[in-house]
Structures are given as structure tokens and as C-alpha cells.
Amino acid sequence: MQETTTINNNFKSEEYFINMGPQHPATHGVLRLLLTIDGEIIKKVEPDLGYIHRSIEKMCERDSYQQIVHLTDRMDYLSSHINNEAVCLTVENALQLEIPERVKVVRTIIGELTRIASHCLWWGVMGMDVGALTTYFYGFRDREMINDIFEETCGARLTMNYNVPGGLMWDIHPNFVNRVKAFVKHFKTKIPEYDRLLTGNVIFQKRTKGVGVLSKEDAISFGASGPVGRGSGYSCDVRKYHPYSALDKVTFKESLQTAGDTFARYQVRIQEMWQSLSIVEQLIDNIPEGEHRVKTNAVIKLPKGEFYQKVETARGELGVYVISTGTKNPYRLKFRSPGFSNLSLLNHIAVGGKIGDLVATMATLDLVIPDIDR
């Protein structure tokens, strides 16, 4: 970078700014970035939000607790099952409901499959952002199998809404176990292929190593979570520190990298796919028998007080904070969404880089815009 910043005296250099987005393929949604640039060097990145704001938090104040669940599908739609789970866990903990083991295990399996599906999509799009179109098709091919599993059991491919306060909407489909096993077998041969195709590729490495470096201290102070934080060596896996559902019964390694650059965040996600696969494998063979749902009142009223539950979505820590006054609607419901905090550090790590690096950096932040705007 050094040589390009030395200004040739014959030419006058001037800062100017351009809009990246709201309709830009690399922002993966309607996010507008105001870039102040000098030549190709980025001086400042200002995200402009609100293009897809649907006031979900306000709608939650109007809705009953059963109805809130389906709204969270529409936040981080790639982790929709985990979002649903977060709301359901909050309600169940507040009511002190005893949840059957079967529900916990199924929730965890589907949650980890969601994580894999999300990372598959991210991997495909990441490759495409840095110029490798093939990855896109391979990522989607593998995600397709998971989507079929979801469609058969939950009825939908993306906005599943399979969790209800008290359990699951239906029991798992008879084909579920076989399909998941077939997927695990299939996907084990595919991750090494991902590595051969993209991870080892020299162009890809040149474009990602040393780009968008985030130090551990900054990761903590910006509130980074998920693979973004772990790529900087900040151990922050909610699944490890505050296990929920059946995650306390499985063993898995938290994937950590210390470099903090784009490539480190890439590696964290690839490792997470392996870890998620191993979690699914540990659970799939012994799903306990039992009820798939416990009865709740038709009108759920939470006791008076404040409740908080956090889960690890594919993007990081999602927190659900409910203030209840004892009525059938929450008085206030706040989502702590991982995408919003991760976006806040974009300016910090992109300044000094080039526009092309910004695209690569954004790809590993793995932003989902509806999650940021809500």
C-alpha cells in the first residue's frame, strides 16, 4: 500500500466520495456505503442503514409470544432456525418450562445444519466476491441438500418457523435421520474439495492474507462476535460459554485463529463447518424418544421482569432481551444482532485498503442486511 500513497507531484490528488450500494452485489443486500476515497485508497467508510428496516422490534410489542417467533425468521434469514430458538428459549426460561430432551436434540441438530447451510452460502458468495464464480455453484449445491431436509421436516426452506414456545411445531419427518446421515457423508467429501478449490488457490490467498486486519483488542471493543471475533483470537463462542439446548452434551472445538485478517476469518468458518458436522454426527444416532412439544397456555403471559437469552447464530451472538409487564405482549423486546456490531468495525479495518479489499473484507464479515436493519 505504501507505494501507491506517495503522491505524484505532477497530478493533483483529491478526495472524493462514491456510493457503494444500495444495490450492489458485493453488499449482499440493500446496504449503502459512503466511501471517501483518494484514488483507490479508502479514507473512510460510512454505512448508511435503514433501507430494509421493517420495525420488527416494534411489531414484537404488538404480537403475542407465539407470533414473535416467525418475525425472527426475517432478520438473519440464513440462521432462521437459530433465531427462532433464541426467542423460544427466552419464553421457555421465563415460564420455567421443562423441555423434553428430544426437542433439545432436534433443535441442536437443525441449528448446526443451519450453520453449515449458512456457511456454504457464505463460502460460495465469498469466492464470487473475489472473482471465482465456480464456488457459488458448489456452495449452493451442498446447501440444497440441507434445504431439502428442512423442507421435508419443517415445511419451508428458508423461513422455517419450526420452533414454537414449548417445543417443535411437528415431530421430525421419518426420513429426517437418513437424510441427515446421507448429507453428513456427502459433505465430508466436499469440504476438502472446498479447500482444494479455493483455500489453497494462490490468487485467493494473495487477495485475503493481510487484508482487513482486526486486532483482538479491537474485536473486543467493537463487540465483534462469531467468526469475526474468533478470527482475531477472541474466544467468544456462546455455544461453549453458555451452552443451550443439547450443546452441553456434545464435544466440539471452538475454532480460533489469531491472524485477524480476512483469511483467518475464512479459515474459522471452514473449521466451523467441520465442527458442526461433528456435532450433528454425535447427536443424530441417539435422538431420544419422547414428546416433541409440551403444552403451553393458548395465551402465553410471561411473568413480570426482564429476561435475556443469547445464542450463537452463524454470524455471532444474537441476544434477545425481553421486558415483560406480565401481559400477553412484551413491553419491549430488543434484539442484539451480530451483524450490526460486526458492521460497526468495517470502517476501522477497511481504511487504508483498496476498494477491492473492501469487498473481500465485507465478504468475511458475512453481513446479512435484514439482520442489521431489522
Binding site: 404480537d63 417467533v69 423461513t159 418457523n161 414454537v164 411445531m169 393458548a298
Partner: protein, 158 residues
Amino acid sequence: MSYFSNIFYGIKTLLTGMRVTGKYFLNSRKGAITQQYPDNRGILKMFDRFRGEVIMPHDENNEHACTGCQKCEIACPNGTIEIIWDRGLDEATGKKKKKIDQFVYHLSLCTMCGLCIDVCPTDAIEWGQNFENSVYDRTALTRVLNKPDSKIRPGVED
């Protein structure tokens, strides 16, 4: 020297990647997942639980199981369901009883959350697997689910 080894290393990693794509290129038929829609319309079958639209099944006597209790209307988060009801004479008991006149379903508003079907005490509504819902006029998406002249199946109570 490292200049040349860098070049060779670069070429090697590119070839490794090309091997993967080459494998799929040669076996393109085996791994293909693309669906030939709409050519495969005849054999394309959605999963049983697929949420395409809310339907109200009628039996051969043109009878349904909806009592008009309006629980689905209350459970729906966005006013997709409107039940226009009436009181009619129950033939068995001779008493006046609530019955539906029109079960209006706005497909254009429905988020497919499934709460209505979940809450229905008599399983009067269920998921339909139709997914080809595009129309030229959006008023066509407002449907009346109970068929004309249909009645509630005798014996269904909520």
C-alpha cells in the same frame, strides 16, 4: 530462484483447483442438481409438509370442518384470515349456532407461519402444496376457502 518457485507454486495451486472443476466437467450428468422446471412439472412433487398456501379440505358431500370459532383469525399475526360468520339453525338440535359464511384468506398477506393451522381445534384447514401462485391481478390472491353452499360436517364440535 524463489521467483520461479513462486510461479510454479502458483500454477500448481491453480491446477489443483482445476482438477476439482475438471472432475465435475467430465461427470456433469452425475452431480447435476439443476431442475428442468417447468419441463418436469408433471413429475415434480413437493414434500407433504411444504407450505404453499392454506386450504380448507371439503369431503364428497361438500362439507368442511370449520366451526367458525375464529381462533385462526386471532392467531394470525397479520390479518390474513377474515371470517365472516352468521348464526344458522342447527338441524340436529334445532338451536341457533355460529357458522361461517365466508372464510376469506388473503394469500398476498400470508407469511406461511402456520399458526392458524396449529391452533385450529378441528383441523379444518391445512397446508396445500401448490407453489405456482403468480397471477396477473392481485385480487385473485384473495380467496374464499369454503366452497359455495358448503356446510359444516355433522358432529364436528369445538
